[in-house]
């Protein structure tokens, strides 16, 4: 389906590797992991956990009174969006374009606020829970706070689709602009679920990585024979999506073009992925873009580093791409920034945009001995130059079997 062309004209990150996109990309390109061992929780109940956490300090970018009305995920979203608006040149005296929309992905919303309220109720045996608890725990907090912080008066929508949340937010933003409903969208996602109660729940699921002999940074190992699981991260990423007409009229810098979006559902299992569902998302996205697998030079894959998940995505790529699968470079940057769940799609879409812009492909870190079941070109160790790179995909596949693939092209 053809419609208006859609470009990314601004990028904003608050990530485990920092906030500056160029510096983040450089560290990723060199294979530097931001994963570390962190002591979480209370002295009695805490644990040492591998995390890609952020030493986040909003400073004067969010006033103290405003912070009291924002969960951590919303604060991350506001700062990432501020960075994106400044990058795009759309910020005027602290305000964004009021006619814009906000499409944000988020999984758990104010997870730490919910934990605190339950702690008050259960541990302190008190019903005196903070009066702001309800509005702070909602998954829609990031979108609402971005709208309020920057005076954005178009729709402020939240997509809560587990690990695919922000890829779908960007995909739906792309469609809204392409199909003429809106001209500019602040699209992305935020996640901050590294509070101890949430981490314990992930531990209960049995999917988290164990510390590798080579240290915390070597523990997330997608496609490697010694992979043991995923590492949770936190952060936010916002992309400014604009119609071609609007971007050209104001002389905006065009970072990358979004040309396709595909989504599908497995209709299979809650946490067990399916080749069929992922294959259909990839095929749908390429068809939407009017491109073929031969056009694609790079895929930023979903692969989280779990023993079961990674080979499923490899098989889905092989089926969707056919013989072209042998020629495409793929990498999982989660090996370095961890799994940001509701923010992962936006962060990885942003990294993919930078890879196209720079014609440099970031690596899969810690991939030393490949699993024979993961026998594609997984760009192990360090990044590589890709002088002919024109088109790339960003995959996000969620618990519940929701799959999303974005197609990006050099601007």
């Amino acid at each position: 389906m053809r419609g208006r062309r859609v470009f990314v004209t601004g990028l904003g990150f608050v990530s485990p590797h920092g906030e500056d996109p160029a510096a983040i990309f450089e560290r990723l390109f060199l294979g530097e992991s931001a994963i570390r061992t962190v002591r979480t929780g209370t002295p009695e109940m805490g644990a040492d956990v591998l995390l890609a956490s952020i030493d986040f300090e909003p400073g004067d970018r969010i006033g103290k009174a405003d912070r009291l009305l924002m969960a951590r995920a919303a604060q991350l979203a506001v700062v990432a969006t501020r960075n994106a608006l400044e990058d795009s040149g759309l910020m005027t005296r602290g305000r964004g374009p009021e006619e814009a929309a906000v499409y944000m992905g988020c999984g758990l919303g104010g997870a730490e606020i919910l934990q605190e309220s339950y702690r008050t109720y259960s541990a302190r045996q008190s019903r005196r829970v903070r009066p702001t608890t309800i509005p702070l725990i909602m998954a829609s907090g990031p979108a609402s706070q971005v709208s309020m912080s920057f005076g954005i008066r178009g729709p402020a929508h939240t997509y809560s689709i587990a690990c695919a949340s922000s890829s779908v937010a960007i995909g739906e933003a792309f469609r809204s602009i392409r199909d003429g409903y809106i001209d500019v969208v602040l699209a992305g996602g935020a996640e901050a679920m590294l509070n101890d109660g949430s981490v314990a729940a992930w531990q209960g699921l049995g999917v988290l990585a164990k510390e590798h002999a080579d240290g915390a940074g070597a523990s997330c190992r997608p496609f490697d024979l010694e992979r043991t699981g995923l590492v949770l991260g936190e952060g936010a990423a916002t992309l400014i999506l604009e119609s071609e007409d609007r971007a050209m009229a104001r002389g905006a810098h065009l970072l990358v073009e979004i040309v396709g979006f595909g989504a599908s559902s497995d209709a299979h299992k809650l946490t067990e992925p399916s080749v069929d569902g992922q294959e259909r998302a990839i095929r749908n996205a390429l068809e939407d873009a009017g491109l073929t697998a031969e056009d694609v030079g790079y895929i930023n894959v979903h692969a989280t580093g779990t023993p079961t998940g990674d080979p499923v995505e490899i098989e889905a790529i092989k089926r969707a791409f056919g013989p072209a699968a042998q020629a495409v470079a793929i990498s999982s940057t989660k090996s370095m920034h961890g799994h940001l769940v509701g923010a992962s799609g936006a962060l990885e879409c942003g990294i993919t945009a930078l890879a196209l812009d720079k014609r440099r492909i970031p690596p899969t870190a810690n991939l030393t001995v490949a699993d024979p079941a993961c026998d594609l070109d997984c760009v192990p160790g360090v990044g590589r130059d890709a002088p002919d790179l024109e088109v790339a995909l960003s995959n996000s596949f969620a618990f519940g079997g929701s799959n999303a693939t974005l197609v990006l092209r050099r601007a």
Partner: protein
């Protein structure tokens, strides 16, 4: 008076209010606090001194009034 001092410290440290704006005649709205933030402020005051504002008492209009109410409740508790 101790509750007024507590309010001043709370509003400066946690709510980011400029200390020079903090006079007994100041209203929460005038300091930039919306109704939800005012409820948070009252809750902190209640927790600090182990008191409870009634629904009517929450409708104070100035910081001085809130502090005077709190002082009354603290005194009543001590009896």
């Amino acid at each position: 008076m101790k509750s007024y001092d507590f309010l001043v410290k709370l509003l400066v440290d946690e709510f980011g209010v400029d200390a020079v704006e903090l006079v007994p005649e100041a209203s929460p709205a005038g300091l930039g606090l919306d109704s939800l933030s005012t409820m948070e402020m009252v809750r902190e005051l209640e927790d600090e001194f182990g008191i409870k504002f009634s629904t009517e008492q929450v409708n104070f209009s100035t910081l001085g009034e809130a502090a005077a109410l709190a002082d009354e409740l603290i005194e009543a508790k001590g009896l």
